[in-house]
């Protein structure tokens, strides 16, 4: 099995990440890997930022990541077997608050210049 490709649950489940990209990263990953989601082999825990670098995704193209259905900050640690997605800046709506972006993007000055909770 190469680093990315078709998922084989019998052998790959424990070693792979299930990766999606949204907005412009949807086209980017589909073009690069020919599929969505991308199943990507990792040796052990890896942060969102490290993974992005490996995949050639630019730092400024990520506001937050999803990990197993929850919004996390971009340097959150991913483990083999996780389902994750990269979300670029651009999600509209009150969901930016309701889904918890504002608690997770506060170290991410590139995206939204909102004040940190502890900076007041």
């Amino acid at each position: 099995m190469t680093k990315s490709g078709t998922f084989d649950p019998m052998t790959d489940e424990k070693k792979q990440l299930e990766i999606r990209g949204f907005l412009q990263l949807d086209a980017f990953l589909k073009k690069k890997y020919g599929t969505m989601p991308v199943f990507y082999e990792i040796d052990g825990p890896i942060t969102g930022i490290e993974l992005a670098k490996e995949l050639g995704i630019k730092r400024e193209d990520i506001e937050v990541i999803f990990v197993n259905g929850f919004v996390q900050e971009v340097n959150y640690t991913l483990n083999p077997g996780d389902r994750m997605a990269f979300l670029p800046p651009g999600c509209p709506g009150p969901y930016r608050i309701a889904l918890g972006f504002y608690g997770k993007n506060q170290d991410n000055a590139a995206n939204f210049k909102i004040q940190r909770k502890d900076s007041k």
Binding site: V71, G90, P92, P94, L99
Partner: protein
């Protein structure tokens, strides 16, 4: 066709702040200046105050005591970006509550430039005839509607006929076939600058207009001047700051402009909050078929008349709309929204974006709310009335709303009626209005808004938060209770204020993440009217609007017990997070503690 009445010469009587009443019983028009108590109000603030003052709360929504009021927002007609929204108010035949539904299109800016603060339609004609109300700078006339646009003629054809009669340049509000039949999901359809359709969608206001036998309102602003601005320099400067705040924000540049609101399919799916199969799951596998990313790729690949980005009115700089073409590149529909695509694609399991686009067009053509219809369709699928995922069957039913057949009548009567007809307990409504595309079990703050808004379940009722209370957002976890009451309260207050400004709700993104942008919005209002409003004043306005609406609902018989989500959400866990709705009645009621 007979000319009925030319009641007055607007130009000679008033130039600004006109308050027009059209009495459909006597077929008389009166015009006056806006009553003192409504001075300084626009959009939702004006429509809701008026409905609370003049509509008998216990009246039958389709009877002679209901009134329809149409009002541009405070900033409509100016050069302020995205300020062309129009509010429509009445008592809703779907919910029985007060209703404000707003729309894009050309009409708001035209009415504002004509100095018209509000157009009220009251009474019911004695004769069984449909009419066109024509508003020009020379007067208001009530004419019989051309027979070829009655009795099932779709809105696209009706716009063509009326364009030929009155000229391409006119603005229009139309009662579609569903409104003529007074079906509870009927919307009011508005012509946009390209002759396509935008809708004041929710709450069945098309049925109210239909009950008053108004087939359409034609607005010809020829001869209107620009809206007066008290301090033009200050206005220009604030408008520039505001536009920059919007355009600098990635939502405008990278999100909505490229992918439309449908960008939310993948995001809500990933969050496990995309209601599927009539609210029995929070995630689907065929999200890629119906996502905004796929829509963008499809429009780009097909070319022709397709456009990935388009504004629903002049002066929109976010341009979340689009023109979705068929395989030959021919226009099918525009304003192809996430909630419609979610309802048919995820909740109803229709896996083909093209057939969803044709259904969207058909809903615009017959004039029904695409959210209510989509939720009703999914409920009907759960109830065995329509096969799951059968797009062709749904298209046929929607087209039959123009006749309408018994099944078409049932679906166009809304989710609550469909649930009863099918004997279901799983009926996703609040105050009889279908719950839109965000499941309250996994996005709890939105659930509190659905439960407590005066409008019945409505995601747009909690869309904006004022800049100075943004810190509320930093503590929100979508599955936990902490902070959600404050969130739902602040979002509803902020939204009520923005809905009164004439601004599209999507300006929220630019101004929420950029306090300078929020101040610029206030500065524009101040510069236009010569005021000194602050952010706190806007908050006060939002609170006042909500309280007025609540007062109407209370007098109509609504209590806290109606501010509840459907019971099934308390005992049916939603995969993948397997959460239930767990707010107590006392916690929900706290939203109104302000």
């Amino acid at each position: 066709m007979s000319f009925i009445r030319l009641s007055f010469k607007l130009k000679e009587v008033f130039f600004v702040n006109k308050f027009i009443r059209v009495n459909m019983e006597t077929l008389e028009v009166t015009v006056g200046t806006v009553p003192e108590k409504y001075a300084g109000l626009g959009g939702r603030a004006l429509t809701s105050n008026f409905v609370n003052d003049e509509v008998k709360p216990t009246c039958h929504p389709l009877g002679k005591n209901n009134k329809v009021i149409i009002a541009p927002g405070l900033l409509s007609g100016t050069t302020a970006p995205n300020s062309g929204r129009l509010s429509v108010g009445a008592k809703s035949p779907l919910t029985g509550t007060i209703k404000e539904s707003n729309t894009g299109g050309s009409s708001s800016q035209m009415l504002a430039k004509m100095g018209i603060k509000a157009l009220v339609i009251e009474g019911m004609p004695k004769e069984d005839k449909f009419y066109i109300i024509k508003v020009t700078m020379d007067g208001v006339t009530i004419e019989e509607a051309p027979s070829q646009i009655l009795g099932g003629c779709g809105n696209y054809e009706a716009i063509k006929v009326l364009n030929e009669k009155y000229g391409n340049h006119v603005g229009m509000a139309l009662t579609g076939p569903a409104g003529e039949y007074r079906l509870p999901s009927a919307n009011i359809s508005f012509k946009d600058p390209d002759g396509n359709i935008r809708s004041a969608g929710r709450g069945g206001l098309g049925a109210v207009l239909g009950s008053k036998k108004v087939k359409g309102i034609v607005i010809d602003s020829t001869g209107a001047s620009s809206v007066p601005i008290a301090d033009p320099e200050k206005f220009k400067a604030a408008s520039k700051v505001f536009a920059k705040a919007l355009l600098d924000h990635p939502v405008a540049g990278q999100g909505l402009a490229a992918y439309g609101t449908d960008v939310l399919v993948n995001i809500l799916n990933e969050a496990g909050g995309l209601p599927a199969n009539n609210f029995t799951a929070g995630r689907i596998d065929h999200n890629d078929n119906i996502s905004g990313e796929t829509m963008n790729a499809t429009i780009t690949e097909r070319g022709g008349e397709g456009k990935v980005s388009h504004g629903c009115h002049k002066g929109c700089i976010i341009r979340c709309s689009q023109w979705y073409p068929d395989k030959q590149g021919k226009y099918i529909t525009s304003g192809f929204e996430y909630e419609t695509i979610w309802g048919l694609g995820a909740d109803g399991g229709i896996k083909d974006l093209d057939i969803i686009a044709y259904i969207d067009r058909a809903m615009d053509d017959v004039g029904v709310d695409s959210i209510e219809t989509a939720v009703a369709v999914a409920t009907a699928m759960d109830g065995g009335l329509i096969p799951w995922g059968d797009g062709e069957a749904v298209l046929k039913i929607v087209q039959e709303m123009a006749k309408p057949t018994p099944l078409a009548r049932i679906i166009a009567s809304g989710t609550s009626v469909v649930g009863k007809v099918c004997g279901l307990f799983r009926v996703p409504v609040v105050k009889d209005q279908g719950i839109p595309a965000y499941d309250p079990r996994s996005v709890k703050g939105i659930g509190l808004t659905y439960a407590t808004t005066t409008m019945g379940a409505d995601h747009t009722a909690g869309y904006c938060i004022s800049g100075n209370i943004l810190k509320v957002g930093a503590d929100i976890d979508p599955l936990k209770k902490e902070g959600q009451v404050e969130y739902a309260r602040a979002m509803q207050i902020g939204t009520a204020a923005i809905d009164s400004s004439g601004m599209c709700l999507f300006v929220y993104f630019g101004i929420a993440d950029n306090p300078g942008g929020y101040q610029a919005l206030i500065d524009m209002i101040n510069a236009q009217y010569g005021l000194e409003l602050t952010a706190d004043d806007l908050d006060t306005l939002g609170k006042a609007v909500l309280k007025v609406e609540k007062d109407f609902n209370t007098r109509a018989g609504f209590t806290n017990h109606h501010d509840r989500l459907p019971e099934f959400m308390e005992y049916e866990p939603l995969p993948p997070h397997n959460e239930v709705w767990n707010f107590t009645p006392e916690e929900i009621d706290e939203v109104w503690n302000f």
